[in-house]
């Protein structure tokens, strides 16, 4: 008779080996190395929890300190490769293969290690895509996760930064994998049960909170006049005409400017209640003035944001909160919400080519995608109508039968024509192609594909790609907002002017916007301090963002 319980038996062996180093479910910190050596097998698929925000940092450094003689050839399947220890694991030969989504601060080192063959790359995913594969072909054998507190039974409280934890635990624990959690402290009773103790096999009391990066904090003091101009264009030229109420914002300064213009410029345009009422969005501090002035009805979050905890808890009419009063975030659900229930994604990028493909990859950096491609894509499975979705669909295919015509999600790329160090936003050829060639990748790491992007906004104007009827028109529409970049200077001026007549390209003056009115005084908050004051003192910015 075949044995259908091999995985369960293997889990039993791991549990038994682990218990040698634990008291009940609790693993003392000094035994952590020996414990991990006992429960992890060479060749295991391991999920080390960490995304662009929270990190199971104690478990990460413990894993990086294992002896590669004992544990090697691991296959890491994790959202974020963010901490130096995440790459030390590969440097030391403990892990070999990697499937991930986001690498932010390690973007340069990860590229170097890929070129040096220190890492065998599976694929660079979007979050939702990697989460999906946890349930199909990348199910972890071991998950090393992070939470705020645990009780002695292993019930976990993850606090506002719940993020990926439920998804990781679901995939691992229900498929006979082992779940180990680091927690700040072990308590008698957790404030709320985010993860049931049945699913958690061991707990490590770290004695300090897990690391969280304040990735979504943009200091209004750094917003430039040009960014304000692009924000004005987006609000008046896209938000208003499409009536965009349900949306997601990227994390750049252009969208931060939009958030800070809603209560001032948006108010003046009479848009309150007509746009920006529902968001799939982290609690950006720059959202505070819009929330306080009553613009926003509801926000669901991927994660929290450092310093925003008390503010969010005090605004439960807007945010999703738990019975303990604090934020409940969930990356998988929020990504799904962003994909299916939002009518617009707007965010910035590093490079856009002549077709409209965009990428944040440069030849020396692999930053990964995170969630942008989930937000920034048209969901073919969508069936419910909405005004912006239908209007965009009609612009794309005006002659199609309305009842059979798909709508279109608005996918907007916003930015200045030149970025840091005068690097042009518009290029003939994406660096991503160069990287794909050098690393022999089957796919170039494109963040938003050309057929998903609907609008490009720069200080020179808005290009509506939905209304382009040919490849040539599309190219000239892009050149027409590419400013003084080489791409922009090589435009066909006559064709661009025709596109403008048709409203495919709209300049500031076409929208009644004077670039000289793009003034920082338009911002509802001009400093982190202003945000703190606007929150009634509930927002407590991290020290590095303060100047008081």
């Amino acid at each position: 008779m075949s044995d259908w319980g091999m995985q369960k038996a293997a889990l039993g062996e791991r549990l038994a080996a682990g218990r040698q180093h634990a008291r009940g479910k609790v693993v003392p910190i000094p035994s952590l190395g020996a414990f991990l050596t006992a429960v992890i097998r060479s060749g295991d698929r391991v999920c080390l929890e960490g995304d662009n925000q929270k990190q199971a940092d104690i478990l990460a450094s413990a894993l990086a300190n294992l002896d590669p003689q004992d544990v090697h050839d691991l296959h890491m399947v994790q959202s974020g490769v963010v901490l130096p220890s995440h790459l030390d694991i590969f440097e030391k030969g403990i892990a070999r293969r990697l499937d991930f989504s986001y690498s932010g601060p390690q973007a340069a080192r990860i590229a170097k290690m890929l070129f040096g063959r220190k890492i065998e790359l599976g694929a660079v995913h979007t979050y939702l895509e990697l989460f999906a594969r946890y349930f199909i072909d990348l199910t972890p054998n071991v998950a090393l996760i992070a939470a705020v507190s645990a009780d002695k039974d292993g019930n976990l409280y993850t606090g506002p930064n719940t993020e990926d934890t439920p998804t990781v635990v679901e995939a691992t624990s229900y498929k006979n994998g082992l779940v180990v959690a680091q927690v700040t402290e072990i308590v008698d009773k957790v404030p709320r049960v985010d993860i049931p103790g049945d699913l958690v096999h061991f707990v490590v009391e770290a004695g300090r909170p897990f690391y969280v990066e304040p990735l979504f904090t943009r200091d209004p003091a750094a917003i430039t006049e040009t960014q304000i101009l692009t924000a004005m264009l987006a609000i008046k030229g896209i938000y208003a005409p499409y009536g965009v109420r349900r949306l997601n914002h990227g994390i750049g300064f252009n969208t931060a400017a939009i958030e800070l213009l809603l209560p001032t410029y948006g108010e003046k345009l009479g848009l309150k209640g007509k746009v920006c009422t529902h968001f799939a969005l982290n609690p950006h501090p720059t959202m505070i003035p819009a929330i306080e002035s009553g613009w926003v009805e509801q926000i669901h979050c991927f994660g929290s944001e450092v310093g925003m905890e008390d503010y969010v808890a005090a605004r439960s009419d807007v945010f999703f909160t738990g019975p303990d009063g604090s934020l409940r975030s969930n990356r998988a659900f929020c990504q799904t919400a962003g994909l299916y229930a939002c009518d617009m994604f707007i965010g910035s990028t590093l490079q856009i080519d002549l077709e409209g493909h965009s990428s944040t990859v440069t030849t020396s950096r692999i930053a990964g995608f995170g969630g942008a491609p989930n937000m920034g894509s048209d969901p073919r499975g969508r069936r419910h109508p909405s005004e912006p979705w239908l209007k965009a669909g009609a612009e794309a295919a005006p002659d199609a039968d309305a009842a059979l015509r798909r709508g279109r999600k608005l996918v907007v790329q916003i930015g200045e024509t030149f970025g840091d160090r005068n690097a042009p936003l518009f290029v003939e050829r994406l660096d991503a192609l160069e990287l794909a060639r050098a690393l022999k990748l089957d796919l170039a790491p494109v963040m938003v594909y050309s057929d998903d992007v609907t609008h490009i906004v720069t200080e020179e104007g808005i290009a509506n790609l939905l209304m382009c009827r040919s490849k040539d028109e599309r190219e000239q529409a892009i050149r027409g907002v590419a400013g003084y970049t080489e791409i922009g200077r090589a435009r066909d001026a006559k064709l661009v002017e025709q596109l403008r007549q048709r409203g495919v390209i709209r300049r500031p003056e076409d929208l009644g916007i004077d670039p000289l009115d793009a003034d920082r005084r338009l911002l509802a908050a001009r400093s982190i301090k202003d945000l703190m004051l606007a929150s009634g003192g509930l927002y407590r910015p991290p020290s590095r963002f303060r100047n008081w």
Binding site: E416, Y484, L516
Partner: protein, 105 residues
Amino acid sequence: MEKLSFRLTAPRSAGGSRAQAIVGVVASGNLEVLLERNLPADVCTIDIATAAHGFGMVWDAVVRDFVARRSAGGLRISINDGGARPDTVALRLAQGVRKIEEPER
């Protein structure tokens, strides 16, 4: 530093009566623009000292557009540039002609 000079025919002369105006500061990614009204009404000269080398073509395009679109005739414009992006340059130039048009207080 790279120095660039342009002498262009200006379709429209600068408004107002101020003799001079200055906008911006020299900093990384920023620039100052000094405008002096002391040329024939159909001429605009622009002298640039820039910290970013090799952007002559971009400057050429920016200043030609500026003179064609704005009222810059009669102005001697001098720029000290700390490596500003073209959008910032265009914005400062526009701010400059607006400032020299303002009534003197």
